[in-house]
């Protein structure tokens, strides 16, 4: 005895002209999907509505400039259509789709959950919770809301499932720990747990005695110049540095992040650094070149401020870097940042 869920009909808000222009492409994608899985029972209207909602929300919503047909078609070409088709069918309660989903993905989900969770019991609890969410227990206006309806098809369904499982583990952890911040929570799950480290709290009397006015002047200038240099970078450069130094991603992990040839992050760095891979995977050495170029830019900005704002000579800049490096060893230089004493 099966419970047949009401068909999900996503709301649509999309410009009429764009709707008309994207219709043939969407119809072609639907035809292919339906030919592959005719038993999933997904109507063309439902499929089109989902894609139109995604275009409206994510593509049209990403910019104040009007979206062109070409952009829409490129966007549609990148959609993981088969995964989306299955998710819509599951959201609608189609038995065959659920069976396919379970057969194809349950084992994988269990492996991911076991990898992330501390115990087998936690892993199983997370899988059960995720399945319940995917099925949907909330009823709004007489329609059961399945978590599948939040999957847009922009990424693969397995990538999406990894994210869902990860979040579910965070929620499970949060449920067991009342007063832990979100940041602390995220740092106890997964491999990042072993890398999480906060800067040491400043000791009392932080202004650990400075030997001379020169050292004090150098330190103040260094903290200001490095902060401003970082702030002046482009967002992509900042993110690369944050991934490498704060999230402790290795070069091969960053290379994985930009593995997709269509990755906008990869495209941005290739244009900025005028490097271009032969295609295929980005090599670790390419990521290293991106980092080197970013360090060079930070150094340039850093020195510019020291010269223009603090009136340092080249010799003083060298001395400044030397002293700052010594200060790092003592753990003094940026100790006030964490507590907000220095911005």
């Amino acid at each position: 005895m099966f419970i047949i869920l009401r068909t999900v009909q996503p709301e649509t808000q999309m410009d009429d002209a764009l709707l008309k222009e994207s219709a043939p492409r969407i119809a072609a994608i639907y035809e292919q999907c339906n030919a592959d899985q005719p038993n999933f029972g997904v109507s063309e209207d439902c499929f089109a509505a989902s894609l139109q909602k995604t275009i409206s929300k994510y593509l049209a919503g990403a910019s104040s400039e009007p979206v062109t047909t070409e952009q829409v078609n490129d966007f549609l070409d990148q959609i993981q259509a088969a995964d989306l088709f299955m998710s819509l069918a599951c959201a609608n309660g189609n038995e065959r789709a659920w069976w396919e989903f379970d057969t194809q993905h349950r084992g994988y989900m269990e492996r991911v959950a076991r990898h992330l969770a501390k115990t087998e019991a936690d892993a199983q609890e997370v899988i059960d919770t995720v399945y319940v969410e995917l099925y949907g227990t909330r009823v709004v206006d007489g329609e059961r809301i399945s978590k599948f309806s939040t999957y847009s098809g922009r990424g693969s369904i397995r990538g999406w499932l990894r994210t869902v499982i990860w979040h579910s583990l965070v929620d499970l952890h949060r449920a067991g720990h009342d007063e832990v911040s979100l940041d602390e929570m995220t740092e106890t799950i997964g491999e990042g747990a072993t890398h999480a480290a906060f800067a040491e709290q400043p000791s009392d009397g932080e202004g650990a005695m400075i030997e001379s006015i020169t050292r004090d002047r150098f330190r103040t200038a260094t903290v200001s110049a490095i902060g401003n240099a970082f702030a002046s970078l482009e967002d992509h450069e900042k993110l690369l540095l944050l991934y490498y130094h704060v999230e402790n991603l290795k070069l091969r992990e960053i290379a994985k992040l930009v593995e997709n040839e269509a990755s906008p992050l990869r495209g941005w760095f290739q244009r900025k650094t005028q490097t271009r891979d032969a295609g295929g995977r980005t090599h670790e050495s390419t990521v290293m070149r991106w980092l080197e170029k970013t360090y060079a830019r930070v150094l340039e900005l850093f020195k510019t401020e020291l010269v223009n704002v603090h009136s340092f000579s080249q010799a003083e800049i060298e001395q400044c870097l030397e002293m700052a490096t010594q200060d790092l060893t003592a753990g003094n230089l940026f100790a006030g940042l964490k507590s907000g004493q220095i911005s």
Binding site: A62, Q104, W166, A262
Partner: protein
Amino acid sequence: MSNIEKMNPQETQLQGLLAEYLTSRKPSNASTGHLDQDTLAAFTEGNLTELEARSAVSHLVDCSFCRHITAELVRLELQFAEEPAPSRSQEAQPAKISEVLSGLLTKMFGTSENAVFAHEDKDKEVENEKKDEKED
């Protein structure tokens, strides 16, 4: 880093300073709310358009929570990179579907009978509401 010899001494010193500066900054959460799971997953796979990626990148610079999630997702993706891609089952639809959904419903409602009744009750409730509205 393996290329450390290739950087000039000042760049090497600066790298150390920068690393310390970045790790010493107070973690922040963006004031505009977090990226949804779908966007986080698509970003990690490099499937966002340039347009979408711009706002996602800006958010990730400011939001340590979302950024940390994407870093973990990249590690997860690498960990499971050798997994075979999902493939369609060649089996005919068996009675197993009943087991899959029954199992789910049992977990939610306790027993499969309760699940059926719970759903039927819900359906009746909705029907009754609609009838009431019409009469009004």
